[in-house]
């Protein structure tokens, strides 16, 4: 998990991208399971367990998803 800091009134956390190793900034309202895009082009899933936040590479839209 990265360091928490404040910028522009929004709490941001930085975590490591599992694809490129670069930093990923997460807004303070980030939720467990959220799917995000990183600048490197990777699509990532946010996993939150207690105070720990990590990212996993998104495995793709599943066949029963969507409206």
């Amino acid at each position: 998990m990265g360091v928490a800091f404040v910028t522009g009134g929004c709490m941001v956390r930085t975590v490591v991208c599992p694809v490129c190793g670069g930093e990923v900034e997460l807004m303070d309202d980030v939720m467990d399971g959220e799917i995000i895009e990183h600048d490197c082009g990777a699509t990532l899933v946010v996993r939150i367990e207690g105070d720990n936040i990590k990212l996993e590479e998104f495995q793709g839209v599943e066949e029963d998803w969507g409206e």
Partner: protein, 284 residues
């Protein structure tokens, strides 16, 4: 204070907006990621006691159905209900229910073999549209203009697994470059949009169609409420085609609606309606 249990798997803008609005209105939201929840099938889970009502927002149809069913099985209230999710999530069941209720829909058939699909297409007339029975955002929905192209599509579909071996074959409706998305929240039809795509036949906003505001008239409202009643009610997005000769044809009903684009173009606070509707069910 009313506590709303928000059941989700992959939260989007919509879930965050619902959380934000609920808190503004003075309600507490308990976010529950269904991927973290083990369902004990032999006893009522503790988390059911932690909320007064549950809002089902999982993007996965099967997860939404299972977790709503579980809540109901142990006496909880959840919107949408498992039966609404099931009725809307299976395209063939949706069409069957609507048709039985006298609601106009595009002509559609369900077949379980490629041969039968090709025969049905001859009856309907090309082009035809082939859809998976389950799934959304327009994925794997294909328009076949000829017998050869349909045969190729079905061969490919059947290689994808059992779920794709049931073929929902629908007539191609020559839409005027758009379709209609009407929202139902309980007994109200608060907002609607056109989904416009002049360059591609699919009108899913997930596939690039542009949302434009649409005023809900009496005919549309009446139709939407009838559809909602048939599928079991709740919070719904109803997709309607405008046929030049037959008028409105109900294409699909969605039990887990995206509404970001609707809010963006109409300015309508749909999350507020959803939260207020949920809370009203607790107070009944």
């Amino acid at each position: 204070m009313v506590v709303i249990g928000l059941l989700y798997d992959h939260p989007r803008w919509e879930e965050k907006e619902i959380c934000r609005v609920a808190e503004v209105l003075g309600y507490k939201v308990l976010p529950l990621n269904v991927e973290r929840i083990v369902l004990d099938l032999n006893k009522r889970a503790e988390w059911i006691n932690a909320a007064d009502i549950f809002l089902q927002r999982s993007v996965s149809f099967y997860k939404a159905y299972a977790y709503s069913y579980y809540v109901e099985a142990f006496g909880g209230i959840v919107v949408n209900s498992s039966s609404t999710i099931w009725n809307c999530g299976n395209k063939f069941i949706t069409t069957l229910l609507l048709s039985k209720a006298g609601i106009p829909t595009p002509k559609a058939y369900l077949v379980s073999s490629r041969t039968a699909a090709l025969e049905v297409a001859e009856v309907i007339g090309y082009p035809v549209v082939v859809k998976p029975v389950i799934g959304g955002w327009g994925r794997y929905v294909v328009k076949a203009d000829t017998r050869d192209s349909l045969d190729g599509v079905l061969e490919l579909k059947e290689s994808l697994g059992a779920i794709y071996n049931l073929h929902y074959v629908q007539e191609f409706v020559n839409k005027p470059g758009r379709d209609i998305r009407v929202f139902v929240v309980g007994d109200n039809v608060p907002v609607a949009i056109y989904r416009v795509n002049k360059s591609y036949w699919k009108t899913n906003t997930a596939l690039g169609a542009k949302a434009e505001p649409l005023k809900v008239d009496e005919e549309l409202e009446k139709l939407a409420l009838k559809v909602a009643n048939v599928v079991g009610g709740g919070i719904l997005g109803i997709d309607i085609f405008e046929d030049p000769e037959r008028g409105y044809l109900v294409n699909e009903v969605n039990a887990n609606v995206d509404f970001r684009n609707t809010v963006r173009v109409t300015g309508y606070n749909l999350a507020r309606d959803i939260v207020e509707y949920i809370v009203s069910l607790v107070k009944r």
